[in-house]
């Protein structure tokens, strides 16, 4: 929390890596809650890894696309999204663990909704691309 003059980002990152700090707030929770929180983190991490894997697959398995560098743009977008999901996963895990120990409400998050919208928008774009190719191309 109060960490002198370090900006909030660095304070958050320090908190992720300091289990003693996390263990000092509130009361030790029922460890089943901690295990569930950890599994949620792992599920998000796998989501991030799947996006990274999707980016790597797009880079090597997509055929050359009509727009130049479109394949690379798709790959880099997926890779960066995967990295962002991993960072957000660990941040949410630490904040949830704090809330559990302090008996507070769990942190609310818009991230799942934003990610769902992004994936949905990507799917719609791909459907349009496929239809355009089927009708106009060939």
């Amino acid at each position: 929390m109060g960490s002198g003059y370090s900006p909030p980002v660095w304070a958050a990152i320090r908190r992720w890596f300091d289990p003693a700090e996390l263990g000092s707030v509130g009361e030790p929770p029922d460890y089943r809650f901690s295990l569930a929180n950890e599994r949620t983190f792992l599920a998000w991490l796998r989501t991030g890894l799947a996006l990274v894997g999707g980016g790597l697959a797009a880079a090597q398995f997509l055929p050359p696309l009509p727009m130049s560098h479109l394949r690379e743009v798709i790959a880099v977008a997926l890779l960066l999204l995967g990295g962002a999901v991993a960072v957000r996963a660990v941040d949410h895990w630490a904040r949830t663990e704090r809330a559990i120990r302090l008996g507070q409400e769990l942190p609310a998050s818009r991230f799942p909704a934003i990610l769902a919208l992004a994936v949905g928008a990507g799917a719609v774009l791909l459907v349009i691309a496929v239809l355009v190719r089927a009708v106009g191309g060939r």
Partner: protein
């Protein structure tokens, strides 16, 4: 082992979640190495770093996926795995950008 709280299958479920994660990590590493194999000497270097990251994460997380006792939770392992995932993503970006030039 009656401590008043029944852990039930929670530690086992968590261990299996770790194993799934390590399996996913391995598949992603294989994809990265395959992509890097087309990239000449720089690709080989990136592939080597990728395999190193994979090995480090495997050694780090292996205890979390094995054993039968009460599971450990939390600690530095979690942020380190996240950092490893970000590293794999950035190595992937390097590979893609390297393919452009």
């Amino acid at each position: 082992m009656n401590t008043g709280r029944d852990a039930g299958l929670q530690p086992e479920r968590t261990r299996l979640a770790w194993r799934r994660t390590l399996l996913t990590l391995t598949v992603v590493t294989a994809l990265a190495v395959r992509l890097a194999s087309a990239g000449g000497p720089t690709g080989a270097l990136i592939a080597g770093v990728t395999v190193l990251v994979w090995g480090a994460l495997l050694v780090l997380c292996w205890p979390r996926g094995t054993g039968t006792g009460p599971a450990r939770t939390g600690g530095r392992t979690l942020p380190l795995v996240a950092v490893g995932t970000v590293a794999l993503a950035l190595l992937g970006v390097l590979l893609v950008l390297r393919g452009l030039c």
